[in-house]
Symmetry: C2
Subunit: 384 residues, 2 copies
């Protein structure tokens, strides 16, 4: 019972103590002035984090809830859309859209490949009539971060709006909603926003709102207009998860006080440190070996080792939660998340745990070299 | 800033300190053993509170989310359903159903009236083809609790299933889901379950699951089958609000340790105490003057007093949050919630606040008599 716990998954992520303390505050009424002050500030901070002048709508749900909100508000049965699929969360876009009778054209990649603007432009040209493109900025299942700026430009060129799942990327890697012309961005509280799961958000461009006017899909809880109207009065159409909102406000304050650029730089360095350590152990990266992989480091499990058993062993031996592989990658990779409230010592701890577990499984690894190289790589930018 | 806060609204409601403390625990991964143990226990406790042997499905949303889940899973465009409307939350059922293209027949009452099984039976007979009946056990906007047992029997007689909004009633007044033959019950965490808002639940009978098989409405996040399948593996289809689940588990433990019957009895006595105090002040009740009104006490605002101003004054002068009237009752009533973590001293405090505010507004009230009568009424059952 005295065992410490280490949360190294790509979500939910560790939550700072100030944010946890805010969760324990007495519940306030969502229509009282105590809450409305916090709500207003939190909605304003979300706009800063989303880098948008538009409203950011807040929902009590997981990120998949606001993903569904995008489909339900933007699409009608028979509409043609393109979904880039290179992992589990791309598949989710396609699955939700199909549940709404949308005519889904998937731009399919091997899991672990990086979708490109060129492929998207070609597909959109071929189709000619797609109304919307659904993208995953950070594909949490593979560690790949794609260039949504270039892809949004390709979509706009073809007359389609761009919808981006930024659940695991917002606040970790740059996303310029307005400047890059991203029409719709959805995200959630439980990744780089350093808050427990339970809040999801979405923001939409005027073009997206115009599409919404034409949508014939039924929706109520996730109807954007109902939430926009209420938020304009600092109200919510349904009782919001007030404790989580109070916590999110504290977390966003921490993030913005430090500065978004600082957070982005830290994530790049965390990714570098993690990759350096993994390679020093002689392991092979599954996620890209470059600075784009700033969110999740995915690692191929060495020959003769079962990835799921490795993850279970880390959990049972060291109280350390890493993520295994999903879908076709089950048992073949493990994933170290470094999203949000992480520093290099968390990376060192995760690497040390993996090293101990692999050595016990018979791997030939030089003790301590992973941690050493990780610390080296972390320091590098300071030396450049 | 040193002002104390008193939350006397019918939701969100005060949360016990043990539950708040649980919220501040470090976040755990939803697929790890630490969480799965809690999740399993919490799902089991929900079955006890819902008085059902069936699965209780858990969602990250407000109660309106699981209300929508019932419509989306049970209804198709053109289906005929009956909704009993005697206040704001009956209207919500109708509004959600209409958003899904359902042919809604409303059994309309004046706000404050109590829907009856006789009226429902007559309407169902007249229509002949209704597939489902949507009810509100505790109409939070008026304080009326209706006899869902008798109404469910009338629905069954007519071949329709019964769907009950028990958001503000579950855990406060008796609801025997299985024994009364209620097909679907929806509820939320933030009322008598003594947890912050952000979790909603739903349970469904075999007849309801059979209707779901035929539904042609699109739904994804709220698709019951997806959640049932996942929960069978102690998993969730989407990252659940883990901190709220941990808190809910603690709150349900408190509720069940004390015993549901004890909670029901306490709510009856709280209602008696509140009504006795209100009448002692010479005020007129809007909610029924009997033991059915165990959830919310609604009070007519005296001649010459603006109800909304009264509520604002209580908030600004004493840090005390009561609820005003909704819809046609705006400004005409105020409401004292006594759901969940309330005892008679909370009632006394609320009454004392109302007394002070009304005396300042020029009302002729004998100082202290409301609190005295409330304490008397609270003690009564012990003397019977």
């Amino acid at each position: 019972m005295l065992e410490k716990r280490y949360l190294f998954t790509p979500g939910p992520t560790p939550v700072p103590p100030q944010v946890l303390a805010a969760l324990a505050e007495p519940v306030v009424h969502h229509r009282g002035p105590d809450f409305m002050r916090i709500y207003e500030r939190c909605l304003g901070r979300l706009k800063e984090v989303f880098r948008t002048e538009r409203d950011v709508l807040m929902y009590g749900s997981s990120g998949s809830g606001t993903m569904e909100s995008a489909i339900a508000n933007l699409c009608s049965p028979g509409d043609r859309v393109v979904v880039a699929v290179a992992g589990n969360f791309g598949l989710r876009w396609a699955e939700i859209a199909r549940a709404y009778g949308v005519d889904v054209d998937t731009l399919e990649y091997e899991w672990g490949d990086t979708p490109t603007a060129e492929d998207l432009a070609a597909r959109l040209k071929e189709l000619g009539d797609a109304t919307a493109v659904f993208l995953t900025q950070s594909e949490t299942s593979t560690g790949v971060v794609c260039d949504v700026q270039a892809m949004a430009a390709a979509a706009r060129e073809a007359g389609a709006i761009t919808v981006v799942d930024a659940v695991s990327s917002l606040g970790a890697v740059p996303l310029e909603t307005d400047a890059w012309g991203i029409d719709v961005v959805v995200s959630g509280s439980q990744k780089a926003l350093m808050t427990p799961p339970g809040i999801a958000m979405v923001t939409a461009s005027e073009e997206a709102w115009a599409l919404r006017e034409r949508s014939r899909s039924p929706t109520y809880y996730f109807d954007w207009e109902r939430t926009r109207k209420a938020q304009a009065e600092l109200d919510a159409p349904f009782t919001p998860p007030v404790s989580l909102v109070v916590a999110l406000d504290v977390a966003l304050g921490l993030l913005l006080d430090g500065g978004l650029e600082t957070a982005f730089e830290r994530h790049v360095r965390l990714g570098r440190a993690c990759r350096a350590g993994i390679k020093a152990m002689g392991l092979e990266l599954f996620s890209p070996d470059d600075d784009s992989a700033a969110v999740v480091t995915a690692v191929r499990v060495p020959e003769g080792v079962d990835g799921d058993k490795l993850v279970l062993g880390l959990r049972d031996r060291f109280g350390m939660t890493l993520a295994g592989g999903q879908g076709p990658l089950k048992g073949k990779i493990f994933r170290i998340g470094h999203i949000g409230w992480f520093d290099v010592f968390d990376i060192a701890t995760a690497l040390a745990g993996v090293e101990l577990a692999l050595m016990e499984a018979g791997a030939d690894i030089e003790r301590g070299v992973a941690v050493t190289r990780a610390l080296d790589a972390w320091e590098e930018p300071a030396r450049v």
